[in-house]
Structures are given as C-alpha cells and as structure tokens.
Assembly symmetry: C2
Homo-oligomer: 226 residues x 2
C-alpha cells in the first residue's frame, strides 16, 4: 500500500512543481509578489491579515483563501474591500489538507492580477502538508501562535524550515501561558538558524506595523530575500 502511495505522491509533487512554475511565471509577468501564508488551525492568519492589509501604502493587495469548508475567512477579508477568491478544497478528496499549485492555478483567472502588486495566499490550517507543496509563491511565511506551545518547531521542523519569516503571534497571551519564549526561539533556531521572526499580536496590534512594512518591501521587491 505505502509504496504505491509514495510513488504517486512523488509524481504528484513533480507535476505540482511544473504547475507552480507556471503560476510563478504568471505572477512575474503581472509584476505581482505572491506570499504563501501558512499556520496551524487557529493561529490567527485571517485576523493578522484583517489587521495588516488595510491601507497598505501604495500597494494593491489581493487575497486567495484556501479552506476545507465554509467561506468564513473569505467573507472576513472581503470586508477589507480587496479582491478575494475562495478555494474550497473539499471537492478534491473529502477536504484536501493543503493548497497545491493546481488549486491556485484554477483560481488565477478570477483575480485581476494586472491590477495587483501583492497576492497573499492563505493556506489551509496545517503544519505538515502545506510545506510540501509550492504554489508558485515568491515568499513563504508562517504564523506560529504561542498558545500552541514552545515545542512546535521541533515537532514540525519541515514547516519551520520552509519559511523565511515566522510571525510569532498572540504574544498578548504570554502572561497567561506556561510558555518560555527564549526556549521557543532556541527551538526555532535549532531547526532554522537565524530565520527572521517578528513577535506580533493580531489582537492588540503589537508588532503588526513591522509585518506591514515587511509586506510593503516584499510587494515593491525591496530588500526581502527571494
């Protein structure tokens, strides 16, 4: 059973890479920077986007929302008056646990790419498979909630290694958690030494300005490693 499964998944990953390259070419042709935003369920991706995408100086933003079910997140983003397209992963296989390049490709015709500078792709909440499937993005960013515990980098190393920026979210909860921030950052550096990190609270807004500045730099292709 497993051998066939692994073989097909390898083929799927090869095919995925080809489609991801096509997506990337489309983004580059339209001069759009694409950011793949990943996290565990409930880490605060959507709330962070609500906080950060409004009035991003000089940057025209679009959002692609991946979800297993419901349009709750897309509805929240629509309130920001930015173009948003929902990808429902359910028709695939009882709910795919990640976005792949083909799902993103199928959504591109619904987005006015030529009128955008930045496309944020909010992935399905999952710390495993999204890290394995490139979708054509320029940057991979993850949101890691302190409520999830300080051991998460060690338990899901591929995800923490795949990202160039880690948004350490819900820091407003630190006084109420058994969470050793220093140990968490040591764990982070153990799996991805020196990876850029920003401490943020989507709830209070603390640290969000630095993340907004990161997005503006990414959209204008300044000084953010590709």
């Amino acid at each position: 059973m497993h051998r066939t499964y692994v073989k097909v998944l390898e083929d799927v990953l090869d095919a995925n890479g080809t489609i991801a390259a096509a997506n990337r070419a489309d983004f580059d042709r339209a001069d759009v920077t694409a950011v793949n935003l990943m996290s565990a369920p409930g880490a605060g991706k959507t709330t962070l986007l609500e906080r950060s995408l409004r009035w991003l100086e000089g940057v025209r933003v679009g959002v692609l929302e991946g979800d297993v079910a419901s349009t709750l997140d897309a509805d929240r983003i629509a309130h920001l008056h930015v173009p948003v397209v929902q990808i429902d992963t359910d028709p695939g296989f009882g709910g795919e646990c990640h976005l792949d390049a083909n799902m993103v490709r199928s959504a591109l015709p619904s987005l006015p790419l030529d009128e955008l500078d930045l496309l944020v792709i909010e992935n399905v909440g999952n710390l495993v498979c999204p890290a394995e499937f490139r979708v054509g993005e320029h940057h991979r960013v993850m949101v890691s909630s302190v409520a999830e515990g300080e051991d998460k980098p060690l338990k899901y190393p591929l995800m923490f290694r795949a990202c160039e920026l880690v948004l350490v979210n819900k820091i407003d909860l630190l006084p109420h958690l058994d969470f050793d921030l220093d140990r968490y950052l040591q764990n982070l550096d153990a799996v991805h030494p020196g990876v850029e990190r920003l401490l943020v609270s989507a709830k209070t807004g603390e640290g969000v300005e630095a993340w907004r500045e990161w997005l503006v730099r990414a959209a204008t292709r300044e000084a953010v490693p590709a």
Copy 2:
C-alpha cells in the same frame, strides 16, 4: 493529476479499512479499548494525557504516540510509567500528516496488549486527514483548544463530526480571549448536533476528572456509546 491522486487515495482508504479491521480484532481479542485522540497542533493532547492517565483506578493504560518528528511527546508520557510506543511518520513521505491503520499495525507488536485495558493513540496534530483514516479504534475523541477560535467546527466539520467526544481545552484562557463560548457550542451543534463535550483545562485540572471518568467507563466498556 487530480483524478489519479483521488483514485489512489480511494484505494488507500479501502486498504486502510481492511487493516483497521485487523487492528480492531486484535484489540478485541486482548480486551483492550482503543481511543484515537486527535486535535490541531498545540491543542494540548499530551498535557491532557499527562494530567489524566496517572493512577486511572484499576485501568492498565498504554499509549501510542504519532509524530512527524521528535520523541518529545513519547518522552513526556514515558514519565507516567506506562508502556508507550512512538510512531515516527517521517520515513513515509516527508512526514505523514496523520496516522493510518498500517502505521498503528506496525507498532502493535511492541505493545503488551494482553496486559492493557486501554490504549490511547495520540494522533498527529492536524484537523483534516486524521479524521479520514480509521486505525481500528473503538472511540474517536478530539481536543479543541479555545485559543483556536470559535469558528473551528464550521471550518473543519469532518473532524468535529468524526468524534463522539470533544474536549474543549484551555478554558483557563477564556478571560483573556475574544472567544464566545456559547457561539462555539452553537457551531459545534451545527456540525455535530448534541455531541458529548467536556470543558477542561489541562493546565489547572478543571474538568479533567470527568474526562478521567469517561476513560475508565470506556476501558471497562460501560455506558459509553461504541
């Protein structure tokens, strides 16, 4: 691409069902109740087990730990002086995002089934795929942390429907969160009407006694729906 993928996954699910039935037969032969414990990453499964498995009156417990990487959880459970076996899902495919029946089957020879009454199978942290793969368990229980937000039942309905008991964890954080417990419970009932739920805090111990009693009833096969 997708058609082949779905077909193979259907075959995998069929094969998985066959192996799950074999596991279930082994559990029944040894008179062991198996509980599949699922949640998002960082919802508190391991901490809850640390709180609840010690001195479970008259019940001999074993634990099977599924993780993508690291033996952190297995090490924590080992401190309880109960038999624990680690399943590392990494060799499969860059880290499987769930346990399947075959992985559990491969671990059974390492467990003294005949000396156990209860086997808790701690799944990989993920709200999608674990719900799709039976492993031969008698009961499926999930841990849902209030830190993840009140919309989670609507966003991951398959998981919330698959379970017969939802442990609503981290209720000690309620005063510090924008979390409407009534709305969460309405969302839960919308996807799984009337499902049994226990409000718990693995940190303070609140509600944990009721979960311990549930486990004892399950282990002695009393009054818990199969």
